[in-house]
C-alpha cells in the first residue's frame, strides 16, 4: 500500500520541479527585481516613478490598453456567431471551419504578420481597396496605422476566441433551443435569450484569454505599426534586449501583468454574479 501512496507524488514531482525552476523562479525574480535598488540592494520605487512620470511610456501603456480592448471586442463579436454556426453545422462544415481556424493558429505569428505587411504595404492589395483612406491609410498604405495593427492582430487572436467559445457553445443543449422555439420565440429571440446567456461563461473566458494575449503582443504591433506606434509590450522588449535596463523593463512588466490580472479577476467576478 505504501507504493500506491507514493505513486501520485512521484508522478507529479518532475513537472512541479520543472515549473518551479523554469517558470516560478524567473517570473517571481523578475517581478521582485523591479523594486530592488541598484546599489546596496534596498527597496526602491524609482523605476515606477520614472515609468509613471514619462509621457512616452504612459502613452505606450494607454495605446496597449485601448488597442487590446478594441481587438478583444472585435474578436469576440466575430467568434461568437462562428462558434454557434460550428456547433450546429453538419460534421463536414464543422471540420472545414476547424481547419480554417487551426491552420493559422499553428502558423508562427511572424509568418502571418509577414503576410499582412506585404498586403498592407504601399503596393499591397489591401491598400488599393476603395475607401481604405477612411482607416487612416497614407503613403505607406496601412503600415504605421492603428487600423492596420488591429486588422492583423484580430486575425492572430480570432482562433483562440473561436475555440474557447466553441467548447461552451457545443455543450448548450439543442433541446433548450427547440423548447424555446416551440413556446413561440422566433430564431433571433431564442439566440438572444437562450443561447447567448448560456454561453456567457465561454464568451467571458474567451475574452479574458484574448485580452491577455493581445496586451502582451509586440511582434505584430512592431512590424505593422512600426516604431512610431509603441505599445507597452514593445517597450519592454526594447528596454530589456537593446537597452539592457532590466529593472526598468521589469517595472513595465509589473504594470502589464497587473492589468492582465485585473481583467481576469473582473471576469471571474462577472461569471460568479451571473450564476
Amino acid at each position: 500500500m505504501t507504493i500506491s501512496r507514493r505513486e501520485p507524488w512521484l508522478l507529479l514531482l518532475p513537472a512541479v520541479a520543472l515549473l518551479a525552476l523554469g517558470f516560478l523562479t524567473p517570473v517571481v525574480g523578475m517581478l521582485v527585481s523591479s523594486v530592488i535598488a541598484p546599489e546596496g540592494g534596498g527597496v526602491t520605487l524609482s523605476n515606477f516613478e520614472r515609468l509613471f512620470g514619462s509621457e512616452y511610456y504612459l502613452g505606450a501603456a494607454e495605446r496597449s490598453l485601448r488597442l487590446s480592448l478594441i481587438q478583444t471586442a472585435l474578436a469576440v463579436i466575430l467568434a461568437t456567431p462562428i462558434a454557434y454556426i460550428m456547433s450546429r453545422a453538419t460534421s463536414w462544415v464543422r471540420t472545414a471551419v476547424l481547419v480554417v481556424v487551426i491552420l493559422p493558429l499553428l502558423t508562427s505569428v511572424v509568418v502571418r504578420t509577414f503576410g499582412w505587411v506585404v498586403l498592407m504595404g504601399p503596393a499591397g492589395a489591401l491598400s488599393s481597396l476603395p475607401g481604405i483612406e477612411l482607416l487612416g491609410a497614407g503613403s505607406q498604405g496601412l503600415l504605421g496605422t492603428e487600423a492596420g495593427v488591429v486588422i492583423a492582430m484580430v486575425q492572430v487572436l480570432l482562433p483562440f476566441a473561436v475555440l474557447t467559445i466553441l467548447g461552451v457553445m457545443s455543450s448548450v443543449k439543442q433541446e433548450l433551443e427547440e423548447a424555446s422555439r416551440m413556446l413561440g420565440a422566433n430564431f433571433w429571440r431564442t439566440l438572444r435569450h437562450v443561447v447567448i446567456p448560456l454561453s456567457l461563461p465561454g464568451i467571458a473566458s474567451g475574452a479574458t484569454l484574448v485580452f491577455a494575449l493581445s496586451v502582451s503582443s509586440f511582434i505584430t504591433p512592431r512590424l505593422v505599426g512600426g516604431v512610431q506606434l509603441p505599445v507597452l509590450a514593445g517597450t519592454i522588449y526594447v528596454d530589456s534586449t537593446v537597452g539592457l535596463d532590466w529593472p526598468f523593463a521589469a517595472a513595465q512588466s509589473v504594470l502589464l501583468f497587473a492589468g492582465v490580472i485585473l481583467v481576469i479577476a473582473a471576469t471571474l467576478r462577472l461569471g460568479k454574479v451571473d450564476r
Partner: protein
C-alpha cells in the same frame, strides 16, 4: 419538430464563413504566393513562377542552421512536456490528492502568464546567475509552455475513461509496470498524442521567448525570419516561411491520422 432556421440567418452564416476563410487564410496565401515569384523583390501577386527561392533558402546557412535548431528544440521540448505533463495528469486524475485544485492551477498557470513576462524573467535570471541564454534554457522554457497543454488533453481523455479497468488489472495481479504499460498509457494515448502535437507547435512557432533569449549562436527559424523582415529582402524569406507552414500541415495530417482533428481541439 425543430422549426427551421430563417433564410436570412442561413445567408448571413454563409457570408460570415466566407469572410472568415478569406480573412484567416489570406496572409498565408500571400506568403506562399510571394515565394513562387521570379522577381528579386517581394510582391503579391507573384510575377512569373519559379521554385528558385526554395533552392536559395535551402542551400543558404541563413535559414538551414535556424531550421535545424528549431526542429531540435521543438522535438526535445515536446518529448519533455509530453512525459512530465502526462505523468502529472495521471496523478491528478487517478488519485485523491490533498490540494489537488491548487496543484492543477499551478501546473496550468503558464497559460495565463504573458509569454513576454516569462521571456524577460528568464533572460534576467540566466544573465545574472548564469552565463546567459543557451539552447537548453530555451528547451526548458518551451517545455514549461507545453506542459499545460498536455495536462489539459490528458486529463480530458482520462476523465472520460473507465476508472475500473485499472482496478480490474490490479485485482487480477498486474504489477505497477504492467498496469501502466497495458492499461493506463493506452487509455491516455489520444491525450498524449494531442498534447505532444500542441507542445511541438508552440515551441516551433514561438517567437517571443526566442527573441528574448536570442544570441548569435542561438537563432530559431521564426527569429531568422523576423530578422530578415525588419529589412526588405528577396523572396527567400517567403519560401522559408512557406516551408514552416508546410511542416505545420504535415503535423496536422499526422494528428488527423492518429486520433482525428475534431477530438484534439474540442
Amino acid at each position: 419538430m425543430v422549426k427551421s432556421v430563417p433564410l436570412v440567418a442561413k445567408a448571413a452564416a454563409v457570408v460570415l464563413l466566407a469572410f472568415l476563410a478569406l480573412y484567416m487564410l489570406v496572409p498565408i496565401i500571400v506568403v506562399a504566393g510571394a515565394s513562387l515569384s521570379e522577381s528579386r523583390f517581394l510582391a503579391f501577386p507573384p510575377t512569373g513562377l519559379s521554385l528558385e527561392w526554395y533552392v536559395v533558402a535551402l542551400t543558404s546557412d541563413v535559414y538551414l542552421g535556424p531550421l535545424q535548431t528549431s526542429l531540435l528544440i521543438a522535438v526535445v521540448a515536446a518529448v519533455i512536456a509530453a512525459t512530465l505533463g502526462t505523468a502529472a495528469a495521471l496523478a491528478v486524475t487517478r488519485f485523491p490528492l490533498p490540494f489537488s485544485g491548487a496543484i492543477q492551477s499551478f501546473l496550468l498557470s503558464p497559460l495565463i502568464v504573458p509569454t513576454i513576462i516569462m521571456g524577460i524573467g528568464t533572460l534576467t535570471l540566466v544573465s545574472v546567475i548564469g552565463q546567459g541564454p543557451d539552447l537548453w534554457v530555451l528547451v526548458v522554457v518551451h517545455a514549461v509552455l507545453g506542459i499545460p497543454y498536455v495536462m489539459r488533453t490528458v486529463t480530458g481523455v482520462m476523465a472520460r475513461s473507465d476508472r475500473f479497468t485499472e482496478e480490474a488489472a490490479r485485482t487480477l495481479g498486474a504489477g505497477t509496470w504492467s498496469r501502466y504499460r497495458f492499461v493506463v498509457l493506452p487509455m491516455a494515448r489520444p491525450g498524449i498524442v494531442a498534447g505532444a502535437f500542441f507542445a511541438f507547435n508552440i515551441s516551433f512557432d514561438d517567437a517571443v521567448i526566442a527573441l528574448f533569449l536570442r544570441t548569435p549562436q542561438l537563432e530559431t527559424l521564426p527569429i531568422a525570419i523576423y530578422g530578415r523582415l525588419e529589412f526588405s529582402t528577396d523572396p527567400s524569406v517567403a519560401a522559408v516561411s512557406t516551408l514552416m507552414v508546410l511542416i505545420t500541415v504535415v503535423t496536422m495530417i499526422a494528428l488527423e491520422k492518429a486520433i482525428g482533428l475534431g477530438k484534439a481541439f474540442v
